[in-house]
Amino acid sequence: MKRYIIKRLLSVIPLLIGISFLAFILINLSESDPAEVALRVNEITPTDEAVAQMREELGLDKSFIERYLTWVTSSIKGDFGNSFINNKPVINEIVQALPATLLLALVSFIIIVVISVSASIICTIFEESWIDRTIRGLVFIGEAMPGYWIGLLLMWFFSIKLNLLPTSGMTSWASVILPGVTLALAYISTYVRLLRNNMVQNKSENFVLYAKARGMKKRIILKRIFKNSLQTTITALGMSIPKLIAGTVIVENIFAWPGIGRLSVAAIFNYDYPVIQAYVFLMAVLFVACNLLVDIVTAMLDPRMRKEV
């Protein structure tokens, strides 16, 4: 097991190098000159002289590889440069916005786990009954509904029509409910579908037939089915964490939630490249880290993996 974890950790290194390189290339895709943009957003006329000075300041006159290396080394230290807009360190902006996003992601993660796991268990136990059909019907509709539309409808119904919850911002504890539910609803359908199909498939595995043939109780057989679905469940739900954090972009914009999703969209409109760069890099790292964690946890759960490595 130890060897597997070490191996898995080592395999992440080339991946991280690739990611950072790609993130860096993405930033350099931009058609406009960052130096010019930096000047413009600070309302300085981009004369040739000023641009050249800015280029030097931003290190744009160096070679591509050199720039990449400086960027990576400073990124590792948490230094993503300063925002073009307010000249504050990017890392501060992100650290400020992160808690709000994490709270939102956590709330919807809990909703997703509770609803998708229980719904798929119910569907498996009562396969092909009316309740299974109803849930599947809802899942089908949920998959086709745009998440932001659900958000708007919820906002209209609960905040405007019933005036129960705040429409936007982060003013009280109640403000997290609507964005949290909206975010969760966008993902629940996918997970219910995935988990239910996995469990139902496990139901027709040979070991279930044998458990029946040796006269085991229904409860014990169900327990075995669920245990065998656990790996898929953990993988799916584990990977939902980074997806949720990345997926907050839309929800945060609907509900004016002061998180990193809104920060990044604002940065896109303002051509604030350092912020975008930092956001992309951090998200990718988060994704890789979660992936790693999920892999290790599932490997620990499965005896076949445990012995093999």
Binding site: F140, M145, P146, V280
Partner: protein, 278 residues
């Protein structure tokens, strides 16, 4: 063949096909079918209710909602089709090469895919649009970059699944060239599966494009687009919530139809996929 027959027998799938064909045709003939010019502003008639001149009313600028909806097909569905087609072509090309030749090339392609897939697609698209600026071309390019790796991988695994089949092994033993095997045996069989993949996924492409437009990062005003219509409706939500319905329902129906069609296609293709019980 059997697949087509099975699809025809599935009445609901047929309804989906008819619906989608109608939608596409309506989009194509929008200039003749729409009662008004979708970008014509008429402030006097703003937020009008349902009437014979405006079958679905007007928005906050007095533009005909039905016309905007019909023209919206052109943008939303067309962009989705273009994105999908380009992604599939790239995926088939690269995935086909990886699956067919295996070895070093395969290894390299797969590692590159790994890197691309380490970015959540939302983040990837945001990054690219952030760098290149909002706009239709840019969201198409961004979606392709965000999706190609996944398709390459799926198509590679489909190709590999077929190369393991005995009839391909037989063809190899008989001394056929790789190209012949790919053209005669793999492509005809894989096309169906790729079509299923595409149909299942096009709904999510539509959702993504409309979401980007909703954020103001995709299609720019005044071009009619469903996501953007929702974004505009949001601003007048308090006084006129009804505006949220037409574009939302339109997206829901089109995406649902594609998803259902994809599911039915998959069922029709995989005979073995039928419920097994031992």
């Amino acid at each position: 063949m059997g697949t087509l027959n099975k699809l025809i027998q599935n009445r609901f799938a047929m309804i989906c096909i008819i619906f989608l064909v109608t939608v596409v045709l309506t989009g194509f003939f929008a200039p003749w079918l729409a009662p008004h010019n979708p970008v014509d502003v008429n402030v006097k008639e703003k937020l009008a209710g349902i009437s014979t001149t405006y079958p679905m009313g007007t928005d906050q600028l007095g533009r005909c909602i039905l016309s905007r909806l019909l023209y919206g097909i052109r943008t939303t569905v067309l962009i989705a089709f273009i994105t999908m087609a380009a992604t599939i072509i790239i995926g088939t090309l690269i995935g086909g090469i990886a699956g067919l030749f295996r070895g070093k090339i395969d290894e390299i392609i797969m590692r590159i895919c790994d890197i691309f897939m380490s970015f959540p697609s939302e983040v990837m698209i945001l990054a690219i649009i952030g760098m290149m600026g909002p706009g239709i071309t840019n969201i198409i390019i961004a979606s392709i970059i965000a999706k190609w790796a996944w398709y390459t991988r799926m198509i590679r695994s489909i190709v590999i699944k077929y190369t393991d089949k005995n009839y391909i092994q037989f063809a190899r033993v008989s001394g056929f060239s790789r190209w012949h095997i790919f053209r005669k045996h793999i492509m005809p069989n894989a096309t169906g599966e790729i079509a299923v993949l595409a149909t299942l996924d096009i709904g999510s492409v539509i959702l993504m494009i409309s979401a980007l437009s909703f954020l103001g990062l995709g299609v720019q005003a005044p071009t009619p687009e469903w996501g953007m219509m929702l974004s505009e409706a949001k601003n007048v939500m308090i006084i006129h919530p009804g505006l949220m319905l037409p574009p939302g329902i339109a997206i829901l129906f089109v995406v649902a139809a594609f998803n259902f069609l994809g599911d039915s296609l998959q069922d029709a293709y995989n005979v073995k996929h039928r419920k097994r019980w031992r």
